[in-house]
């Protein structure tokens, strides 16, 4: 990793925009991504680059396809029978819908945090240890202990749960559960973390916690976050993409999108004329 990608320079982010390739390395490249649910087309050809070690926010009104797009990035849409994906999505230049990539391998590299906190009904420890265990990481107990502790520390949950790792993860509060889910995603050491409205079920304090966390995680991971909350997008992301009715209308540096949107629809949405 070069210094420029390790610490994302805000000025470098500001220079990147929809037309020009940013100064950060492109982690995920999507070209003409179309998604169909049966006969219904949910995405109408998305072109979007996601840069390494930055937070990219996907915003837009309900049903605009931003979650659908997010779920294409780790092929979570494969679990829906009637869903069909066309176009090209490359992770580090490799087609994730190609023959060489396996979904299990892909999802180990591209982790996901869901809208509703969904810890396994197991202990806190096992929630974190599950991912590494199935991938054969941390076979020794002490190695696993380190992974669990580090993941919980990074998710900012360690101090709250260090004395009750054996208790069920479902017994935590909503915000803690969501941080547990983030820790679970981190434990596998993915390269990209996808977050599908991670704060929509949380109160403002828990939300602030998660947002801080996202900002810290940016150093080590590439993050794509779907959010309904435009303040949140403005707070946590470096780049923002605006989706509308299955189209990606505009992508740009976050500050630019919120202060100087190029498209009328973007402007309408962020100023609250519709949404």
């Amino acid at each position: 990793m070069t210094a420029s990608t390790m610490n994302v320079d805000p000025s470098a982010i500001a220079m990147s925009n929809a037309d020009a390739v940013g100064t950060g390395r492109v982690k995920i490249h999507s070209k003409d991504v179309k998604v169909f649910y049966g006969a219904k087309q949910a995405l109408k050809g998305i072109y979007l680059d996601i840069f390494e070690h930055s937070v990219t926010a996907l915003i837009g009104p309900s049903g605009c396809g931003k979650s659908t797009y997010l779920r294409c990035l780790n092929r979570m849409n494969d679990t829906i029978d009637i869903c069909r994906v066309e176009g090209l999505i490359e992770l580090d230049g490799e087609d994730i819908y190609g023959r060489t990539i396996d979904t299990v391998q892909l999802r180990a590299r591209v982790g996901m945090v869901f809208q509703k906190p969904n810890p396994f009904p197991k202990s806190i420890y096992d929630n974190i240890a599950y991912g590494p265990r199935i991938h054969g990481i941390g076979a020794r107990r002490d190695e696993m202990d380190v992974i669990v502790e580090k993941s919980l520390q990074r998710a900012g949950l360690w101090d709250e749960v260090r004395d009750r790792l054996k208790e069920p993860g479902t017994g935590l509060s909503g915000g803690q559960q969501q941080r547990l889910c983030i820790a679970r995603a981190i434990a596998v050491s993915p390269e990209v973390i996808l977050m599908d409205e991670p704060c929509s079920a949380l109160d403002p304090i828990a939300t602030a916690h998660i947002e801080e966390l996202i900002d810290e995680l940016r150093e080590n991971y590439t993050i794509v976050i779907v959010t309904h909350n435009m303040q949140q997008a403005a707070r946590v992301s470096q780049r923002t993409a605006f989706f509308h009715l299955g189209d990606m209308v505009e992508v740009n540096d976050t500050e630019e999108i919120f202060t100087n949107p190029k498209d009328e629809r973007t402007q309408g949405y962020i100023t609250g004329r519709y949404g």
């Binding site: 780790n74 979570m76 679990t79 029978d81 299990v104 391998q105 999802r107 180990a108 982790g111 996901m112 945090v113 869901f114 509703k116 969904n118 810890p119 396994f120 009904p121 599950y130 991912g131 199935i134 991938h135 479902t170 889910c181 679970r184 995603a185 434990a187 596998v188």
Partner: protein, 456 residues
């Protein structure tokens, strides 16, 4: 509306014209609605009361008949273990001891107790006081302890079924024991009861001497079937049911769960799987005798498996239980929230790992409940087993899954057909035992469901 506008600020606005929701017509309508609701509740309560009353009547009629079968009348006799009869050679050879004339010992004891009885007919009647199983009881005693030979012992024998029934009052003669003791004769004519006045006299005499007692009917729970009611037990049927259910469980659960997991998690949704699904649902409604015919045609006639064996009965019942297990398992799998699957997929679990590590453990209580209820169904099933020969009269306790056996409900069916009065109460008692097992199993299902119920 202008009225309201004229109200002073801060005062409660009063509507001068009542709204349609305050009209008398509306009030009447409201009253009718509430009446309808009340009527509906009454119908529901009546339905429940009817069902409960039926259940109470059923249970009462079974228990009131059946409880007597848990007690047996026993008669005490003084038996002289005469060496000349038992072991003339003095070798103490167990085979010889077993073959000795024990009935003779009992007969002599009876003749001794009632020396006034003479004549072939009366003596035959006298001998009939004691169950024909008495001689085996003595043989067992002597073989186990040959030192008894030469001694005189008081031995409790089972009374024959007629005496037992008479003692319990189910073959009444019209007066109570005390009245008979006071010299009042029976009011029921002698030729319309199975035991005559002489028998009653002997019984009363034995009773007065303290030679009659009521003991717990351990035969019912330890012995196999018999033509003699007092010697008939259901242990053979219980063991037969156990072996049959083991086979059913061993087949129905793995096959059912595997089929359900495949259909629910892996199978593509197409016309074939739709067809299979419809067939499974329909199988659950197929009359059980059809499964028996299938078992007869396929397992007995084609594969040549042994007749009357728990193996075949278990296979047939497994076929019958499969749809229940599959449907319950699929419902339990469906009930696992998709968020758990997504979470597991999200950290890179393969579909197989998602199912094995997360979905199946979470569905286990539901699968377990469905399985136990299926097993309870199988335990109570009679018709298909009749077709594969498990209705035979079998005295021996089955020793394995290929031995001839019968099961509890079939035993009940067979006993209910027998003419002896004593089998009436034994039939009811067997039903009580079967119900006990069913309640136990359903209770277990409820307990497990409560214990493993998870909240997300």
């Amino acid at each position: 509306m202008t009225d309201i506008a004229q109200d002073l600020p801060g005062t409660v606005a009063k509507r001068r014209t009542p709204s349609r929701y305050q009209s008398d017509e509306f009030k009447a309508r409201l009253k009718a609605r509430y009446n309808a609701e009340r009527r509906f509740q009454v119908y529901g309560a009546l339905a429940i009361a009817t069902a409960a009353a039926m259940l109470v009547i059923l249970l009462f009629s079974i228990c009131s008949k059946g409880y007597l079968a848990f007690w047996q009348t026993e008669i005490k006799l003084e038996i002289t273990f005469d060496p000349a009869v038992l072991d003339p050679s003095g070798e103490r050879d167990p085979n010889g001891l077993r073959r000795a004339n024990y009935q003779g010992l009992i007969n002599s004891a009876l003749y001794e107790a009632f020396p006034e009885v003479s004549g072939r007919r009366d003596r035959r009647n006298l001998r009939a006081l004691i169950s024909s199983g008495g001689r085996f009881q003595l043989a067992d005693m002597v073989v186990a302890n040959p030192d008894l030979i030469g001694t005189t012992q008081e031995v409790w024998f089972l009374a024959s079924d007629d005496i037992d029934q008479f003692a319990k009052g189910t073959l009444p003669c019209g007066v109570t024991h005390e009245e008979r003791m006071a010299g009042i004769p029976c009011t029921v004519p002698e030729d319309s009861r199975p035991i005559n006045d002489r028998n009653i006299g002997w019984y009363d005499q034995l009773y007065a001497n303290g030679q009659v007692d009521f003991a717990f009917n351990s035969v019912l729970f330890t012995k196999g079937n018999s033509r003699e009611p007092e010697l008939a037990g259901m242990w053979g049927a219980i063991v037969g049911s156990f072996y049959t259910l083991v086979i059913t469980l061993a087949l129905a659960v793995p096959i059912g769960v595997a089929a359900a997991v495949y259909l629910e998690e892996f199978a593509p949704k197409n016309a074939w799987t739709d067809l299979i699904e419809i067939n499974i649902n329909n199988l659950a409604a197929v009359p059980s005798i059809v499964f028996g015919l299938l078992g007869l045609a396929v397992f007995l006639n084609f594969f040549g498996l042994p007749r009357s064996a728990p193996l075949v009965g278990g296979i047939v019942l497994a076929l019958m239980t499969l749809p229940t297990v599959i449907i319950a398992t699929r419902a339990a799998l469906k009930a696992v929230p998709p968020s758990i699957r997504e979470a597991a997929l999200g950290v890179g679990a393969s579909p197989y790992q998602v199912i094995l590590h997360h979905v199946l453990p979470l569905a286990a209580p539901g699968i377990l409940t469905g399985t136990i209820i299926g097993m309870a169904q199988a335990l109570g099933e009679t018709a298909p087993l009749l077709m594969v020969g498990m209705v035979a009269f079998i005295v021996d306790i089955p020793q394995g899954i290929t031995d001839a056996a019968t099961v509890m409900p079939v035993q009940i069916y067979m006993w209910s057909d027998l003419p002896e009065r004593a089998f009436v109460e034994r039939t009811s008692a067997a039903i009580m035992v079967l119900l006990g097992f069913l309640i136990l199993m359903n209770g277990l299902a409820v307990y497990l469901r409560k214990k493993f119920e998870r909240r997300w």
